[in-house]
């Protein structure tokens, strides 16, 4: 299987001018400080073309450097996907530098051998050294463990074009496994988690709840199976309306009682399925059909409830935020949630809605990432009371980089933008303070 390896992500042209941090860190640690030829990642600055970027080996699926190596010195590790040069076999012919068309293999004139990025065996130093967020390391390898199952939903979908919730629920299905009982409530994704009309669309044992009783229904099912001596996984995948508003009483009660269920809220920040009405999760200043924008109104006047934080303060053993833009992060959190035995596990999954957010249908992942990179939606977890950021944003982007991607914020500029930025900063400072404790 040569997919789903850990990936060194590199934003092609997002470096600031004259920053050599990644190359310097690499050369220093790996090649004795020889910056000119030593680094296994290369900073590129061409002021005359206004270009600033970086590049390194992309760890090809079928590496051409390996194919042309006359001694078989280059191998692709099947477990990690890393393409490595075995020093004891490298004769230094440099044919690999001729075969690699992506400038990923370099030649050391002094040692007379080829060298390349080996991703520091899974903890790339360049990522730590990058003062911006140009480099990151996705641990997609964790997803590979979940490829043994197909997802248990029918092909095709009635969800809107470009809805990232479909991707989220399909990977969720793979991670929880086909025998997990999945709970839905009225909402967009229930047409996959349960069915539509008289058509079932899932092979999971599934349970359709009402908007107000998902957590209560899960309690009953889980307790029944406990009573008959069967350890089953019970997982809810329901929207923000059913979680933060209508079903909150049931959820709050289940958390307080310590019911051993896994509750995933996919949050698209409004009642999208019924026509874009605001919910308790709708953000400050966002447009919805019930928080209009015009001469007198400027969208929602109050911030959304911080429900993941509220759940953490219930004392639930595991609470986390996630988004499908960082699928590896989500997968690891869901794995942890499934292992919880001493109470409720809650994951709050931000799920952009192209229809309700008035965004392009191909922007779901971009929006998910922008939400994190602007600190609008920080990725954190609270594991038995210990708060931790799971994705550090080194240089947060201005909130405008997020809002400009959507029609629902098209009215926001100037002072109003600053007001939103303040609100984002305040909410972030709170969670940061908890993580620093």
């Amino acid at each position: 299987m040569n997919a789903f390896y850990d990936t060194l992500d590199l934003k092609y042209d997002a470096c600031p001018p004259d920053c050599w941090a990644c190359e310097e860190a690499c050369a220093k640690a790996r090649d004795g400080g020889n910056v000119l030829e030593g680094g296994r990642i290369k900073s590129m600055h061409l002021p005359e073309l206004s270009f600033n970027g970086a590049l390194t080996c992309i760890q090809c699926g079928v590496p051409e450097c390996q194919a042309v190596c006359p001694t078989g010195a280059i191998v692709k590790d099947r477990e990690t996907g890393t393409v490595k040069i075995q020093e004891s076999k490298c004769v230094g012919c440099a044919l690999c530098t001729l075969a690699c068309q992506y400038a990923g293999v370099y030649y050391d004139q002094v040692k007379k051998r080829a060298f390349k990025c080996d991703r520091c065996d899974g903890n790339p130093l360049c990522v730590d050294a990058c003062p911006y967020d140009v480099l990151s390391y996705s641990r997609n390898g964790v997803l590979r463990n979940h490829l043994k199952y197909e997802d248990s939903f029918a092909t095709g979908t009635g969800l809107c074009f470009g809805c990232p919730a479909e991707l989220a629920v399909r990977i969720t299905s793979r991670i929880i496994g086909p025998e997990a009982i999945i709970f839905g409530s009225p909402g967009c994704v229930s047409i996959l988690t349960v069915g539509f009309g008289t058509q079932a669309t899932t092979r999971h044992p599934s349970f359709m709840c009402l908007l107000n009783n998902t957590a209560a229904s899960m309690t009953g099912v889980k307790r029944y199976f406990n009573k008959v001596g069967r350890d089953v996984k019970t997982v809810a995948f329901v929207g923000d309306g059913a979680t933060v508003d209508i079903g909150f009483q049931a959820l709050s009660g289940a958390a307080e009682r310590g019911e051993n269920i896994v509750y995933i809220c996919y949050d698209n920040e409004a009642y999208m399925n019924t026509g874009i009405q605001r919910s308790g999760s709708t953000s400050l200043l966002a447009w919805t059909n019930t928080t209009p924008v015009g001469k007198l109104r400027r969208g929602k006047e109050t911030p959304g409830k911080n429900v993941p934080l509220i759940m953490a303060f219930h004392g639930a053993p595991y609470v986390a935020t996630a988004t499908i833009g960082y699928m590896d992060d989500y997968a690891q959190k869901l794995e942890k949630a499934l292992e919880v035995k001493d109470g409720l596990a809650y994951i709050h999954l931000l799920s952009p809605c192209p229809t309700g957010w008035r965004s392009d249908t191909d922007s779901g992942i971009e929006l998910s990432k922008a939400a994190v990179e602007t600190n609008y939606f920080p990725l954190w977890e609270a594991d038995h009371g210990k708060f931790r950021m799971t994705h550090d944003v080194k240089k947060p982007r201005p909130i405008g980089d997020f809002t400009h991607l959507m029609g629902r914020y098209s009215h926001i500029e100037g002072e109003v933008m600053e007001e939103l930025q303040r609100s984002v900063n305040e909410r972030f400072a709170l969670i940061q303070a908890l993580c620093d404790m």
Binding site: Y12, L49, T71, S88, Q101
Partner: protein, 421 residues
């Protein structure tokens, strides 16, 4: 139904064909036959072994158990005598016959032995195979002076190893330039300076006319009237396709076995790849291109066609990289083209001993040559193969080949990855 693929040869082309067949047809039977008695290796690596940079075991191209993993068999020490297309059989030396469904000829090339009087008696070594390497390595001890006939890549690389080991080394090349196929006069002048400063005796534009022995030393008579004394003689004057066994087979052989873009010969179910094949080139010509990257690509194309799923073959491109004494030179594509509608721009720096050259046609890069300049050879292969219009960047590409090359490559990759809206 599972087919039987018979592959004659066990070099880069043969192994890449095997790997391709396996990726397409897991149940087909594959058998490789080699005249060698050792595990598969590439002649490309042999000169480097001489210098002692790596151990001899480093030579073997594939790990132990490779053929079992690939569910293939390797028969060693078998030489071809004949191919009988009518009955779909091959005949080995000694008369043994073997049938096939598809046959791949990847026998590679053999060294040309120059017709020089007295050569055989002088006990020369034609450097090409592992046993040649063994015999050279074994006979070097105590031999101070070594003469290398041939200033092509193999000859030059052998000479580098000998110089590194402290032998007094002479190179004789009949063309007026060293490495005549890969570097022009501008680059060659600098390469020559470096070799001379490393102590090599360079004799270009002259040929050996006769060899004799005197007091245990070898005397080499040259066509320019001079003579050369050496203790050991190595020849590397070129290679030719190994095709003698095809004489009565009906397979068309020109300078090599003539094949199309799927490596099919003129006879059904017989394929050829690697040094032995005369295949279509990237620039519309057909010919031999005995270099390792071409062997790999052709082996892959042959394997795909043999397994019933032909893949497009882009055509071979001349290319080479030459490392010498801490310096690197490379050339890609039509790097020697001039006149007509070719536009050539060059720059050289005698002090830094560097040389740069780009060849363009209609604004597109068709060739490049660099010496002692930091650049990625593979990126230039990319720029040529993608037929990118680099007219606006030609000066900056010449001046900053590494940075601008990488920029053009990544910018094009990004463009190709962007969905057209």
């Amino acid at each position: 139904m599972a087919k039987k693929h018979l592959i004659i040869g066990c070099g880069s082309a043969a192994l890449s064909a095997l790997e391709k067949i396996r990726s397409i047809a897991p149940d087909d039977q594959v058998k490789l036959v080699t005249m060698e008695d050792c595990p598969p290796y590439s002649p490309t690596a042999l000169p480097y072994l001489l210098s002692g940079r790596v151990s001899e075991e480093a030579l073997w191209m594939r790990p132990d158990g490779y053929f079992d993993d690939m569910k293939a068999t390797l028969a060693k020490g078998k030489e071809m005598a004949k191919v009988l297309p009518a009955s779909k059989e091959v005949v080995y030396q000694g008369g043994e016959r073997e049938g096939y469904d598809t046959l791949l000829i990847a026998t590679g090339s053999e060294p040309i032995h120059p017709p020089i009087e007295g050569l055989e008696e002088a006990g020369f070594i034609g450097f090409r195979s592992f046993s040649d390497y063994r015999s050279l390595a074994g006979r070097l001890a105590g031999k101070k002076r070594v003469a290398v006939l041939g200033g092509g890549l193999i000859g030059m690389e052998v000479a580098i190893a000998l110089l590194e080991k402290g032998h007094q080394t002479h190179i004789v090349e009949k063309e007026s330039r060293l490495l005549p196929l890969y570097f022009d006069a501008g680059a060659e002048g600098l390469i020559r300076e470096v070799f001379e400063s490393e102590g090599a005796g360079l004799h270009t534009g002259t040929e050996a006319t006769g060899v004799s022995k005197k007091n245990g030393a070898i005397i080499l008579g040259l066509s320019d009237g001079n003579s050369l004394e050496a203790d050991l003689l190595v020849t590397a004057v070129g290679v030719k396709a190994k095709t003698a066994f095809l004489a009565s087979s009906g397979v068309k052989v020109n300078r090599g076995i003539v094949v199309d873009g799927a490596m099919r010969t003129t006879v059904t179910d017989i394929y050829a790849a690697g040094d032995v094949a005369e295949a279509p080139g990237f620039f519309d010509e057909t010919g031999l291109n005995p270099i390792l990257p071409s062997a790999v690509a052709q082996g892959r194309a042959a394997g795909a066609a043999m397994a019933g799923q032909p893949e497009p073959y882009e055509g071979w491109l001349p290319m080479n990289v030459f490392n010498f004494f801490g310096r690197m030179a490379f050339s890609v594509g039509l790097s020697m083209a001039q006149g007509g509608n070719f536009e050539v721009i060059t720059a050289s720096d005698r002090k830094a001993k560097s040389y740069r050259k780009l060849v363009l046609r209609d604004g597109r890069l068709v060739g490049a040559m660099f010496l002692n300049v930091s650049a990625d050879p593979g990126v230039f292969v990319y720029l040529v193969r993608k037929r990118l219009d680099i007219g606006a960047y030609q000066r900056s590409l010449l001046e900053k080949p590494r940075e601008v090359g990488r920029y053009l490559m990544t910018a094009n990759e990004k463009k190709e990855a962007t969905v057209i809206e």
